[in-house]
């Protein structure tokens, strides 16, 4: 009895040694997904601890440049300046780990169910300031946006506010569009969901996974069409996958190619069949093609 106790204690004490840590910083859209994936990775790799910090895509990229994080998560592509800064530090790895739709969200009591690109752009610019103008109640619209570190804001600004998805000509014409000055700014999706839950006349936007899963019940995600004459499509994994819901973007993990093996192991976990199935479970669309299995004969 005593001998087994000694062996057990020795094993326990040896396993209490320091763990290797992977730090992940960035996209608020990907925050919940990254924490979930980190926990699952830790189950298979007991000597590695995964720490996830939010702050937005810009925060992640900035910390990767300064060497304060192992991995940056971004819901937008790298800008030229960022790419140049990162490339100076060595080879870079940028992998698409998932896809996500951006959902336009309102209070569940709001009777509005769908909006087209131009109407959304006009609402966020303040050219439309009453729900009545888009077929809703006679109530003033309260616009809510994410802060400037957000990759979702960056995507929304280009593709919807400045109307890039209507073509290059429209984008050139609307490139100076700006948000209404009374727009409320929040730092993350939970703050946005809480604000909308308390303000029935508010409208905002966030990643489809955050809207449909993490803040389910607090918000209503609207159907969307680029042209008013197009069919309005609700944001869902299926509709992003079959390319019907057109407000979608890639979600990236960015790290230095000469990083420690632990980072390579984590990136392989995310792109593997197991990781991709977990990503799907969290409400995001998988990015890797189906796994190819090779069995030794």
């Amino acid at each position: 009895m005593k001998q087994s106790l000694i062996i057990l204690l020795t094993i326990v004490l040896f396993n209490c040694g320091p763990k290797e840590v992977i730090t992940i910083t960035g996209s608020e859209t990907m925050h919940g997904m990254a924490e979930y994936l980190g926990n699952e990775f830790e189950k298979e790799n007991s000597k590695i601890k995964v720490q996830v910090f939010g702050g937005g895509s810009l925060e992640g990229i900035t910390k990767l440049i300064s060497g304060e994080t192992n991995i940056a998560l971004s819901s937008r592509d790298l800008q030229e300046k960022e790419l140049a800064s990162l490339s100076k530090k060595g080879d870079l790895e940028k992998l698409t780990i998932a896809y996500d739709g951006v959902a336009i969200v309102v209070h569940p009591s709001n009777p509005i169910a769908k909006l087209d690109l131009k109407s959304i752009s006009n609402i966020f610019q303040g050219k439309i300031q009453n729900w009545k103008q888009v077929g809703g109640l006679d109530k003033p619209i309260q616009v809510i946006v994410r802060n400037d570190k957000s990759g979702t804001l960056s995507y929304f600004t280009d593709h919807i506010l400045k109307q890039k998805d209507l073509g290059i000509k429209e984008f050139e014409k609307n490139k100076n569009n700006d948000y209404i000055s009374s727009a409320k700014t929040v730092s993350d999706n939970n703050d946005m969901a809480d604000f909308i839950a308390k303000n029935p006349n508010a409208i905002g936007f966030m990643g489809m996974g955050s809207a449909n899963l993490e803040n389910k019940g607090k918000l209503k995600a609207l159907s969307y069409a680029i042209q008013p004459s197009d069919p309005f499509i609700e944001p869902s994994i299926e509709n992003v996958y079959n390319r019907k819901y057109r407000m979608s973007r890639a979600l990236y993990m960015i790290y230095r190619a000469d990083s420690h093996e632990k980072v390579d192991a984590f990136s392989s976990f995310l792109t593997s069949e197991v990781g991709q199935e977990l990503i799907l479970k969290r409400g995001y669309l998988r990015a890797s093609l189906p796994e190819v299995e090779v069995k030794a004969e």
Binding site: I6, Y99, T271, S272, S288, V292, V294, A296
Partner: protein, 200 residues
């Protein structure tokens, strides 16, 4: 045996017995003490910081090295515009097919996904990997052209080793795909493929 010799043997036995009794009585404590000692030694050697060399010594070595190097101007040396020389990797990238740099993302662009027309063409286990019992998943990044040919394959993330990356890359390089289609037009796309190696 004299009386004194008998006494000495008795004393020796008594000491051994005492040690034996002590261990018997405090077996748990002795075990923990030994375990702690081993761990302390492991942690001590693990965390012992690397000794920094004396900078002056390094400087002396550098000066000695530089003194013994003679720089010769190449015969056909030309004045350049101050740009750095390209590294070998950059030279390879420069030679790459221009379609690689402009590869789109099939989902974001709204294009269809490429379909593997050669699903039975799979990499083979290398004898080294098989004998070393290596299993696991590696990820390949592929650029598939508008004609369905594979323009580039590279391994990303964790490496399995024993030639498995090379085997997978050379096999996937020979694959044929039906290309991604965007608004009726074939386009070049970038995709990731996990490849899992398993042993029976």
């Amino acid at each position: 045996m004299t009386e004194t010799e008998v006494q000495t043997v008795q004393i020796q036995r008594t000491t051994k017995q005492k040690i034996h009794r002590f261990i018997e009585r405090y077996r748990l404590e002795t075990g923990i003490a030994l375990s702690t000692l081993i761990q302390a030694l492991v942690i001590f050697f693990w965390y012992t910081p690397a000794f920094e060399y004396d900078n002056l010594d390094n400087l002396v070595e550098e000066v000695a090295f530089i003194d013994s190097v003679s720089i010769q101007e190449p015969a056909d040396a030309q004045l350049d515009d101050g740009d750095f020389e390209l590294t070998d990797k950059e030279k390879v990238e420069k030679k790459e097919d221009p379609r690689i740099a402009s590869a789109s993302d099939p989902i974001v662009s709204g294009a269809t996904s490429p379909v593997d027309l050669t699903p039975n063409l799979k990499p083979e286990y290398t004898p080294e990997a098989k004998s070393a019992g290596i299993t696991g998943t590696l990820t390949l990044e592929m650029i598939i052209s508008e004609t369905g040919e594979v323009l580039r394959v590279r391994s990303v993330g964790k490496k399995l080793g024993s030639g498995l990356e090379e085997a997978a890359i050379s096999t996937f390089r020979r694959k044929k795909f039906s290309p991604s289609i965007l608004q009726g037009k074939a386009i070049t796309v970038k995709v990731l493929v996990p490849v899992r190696f398993t042993l029976n």
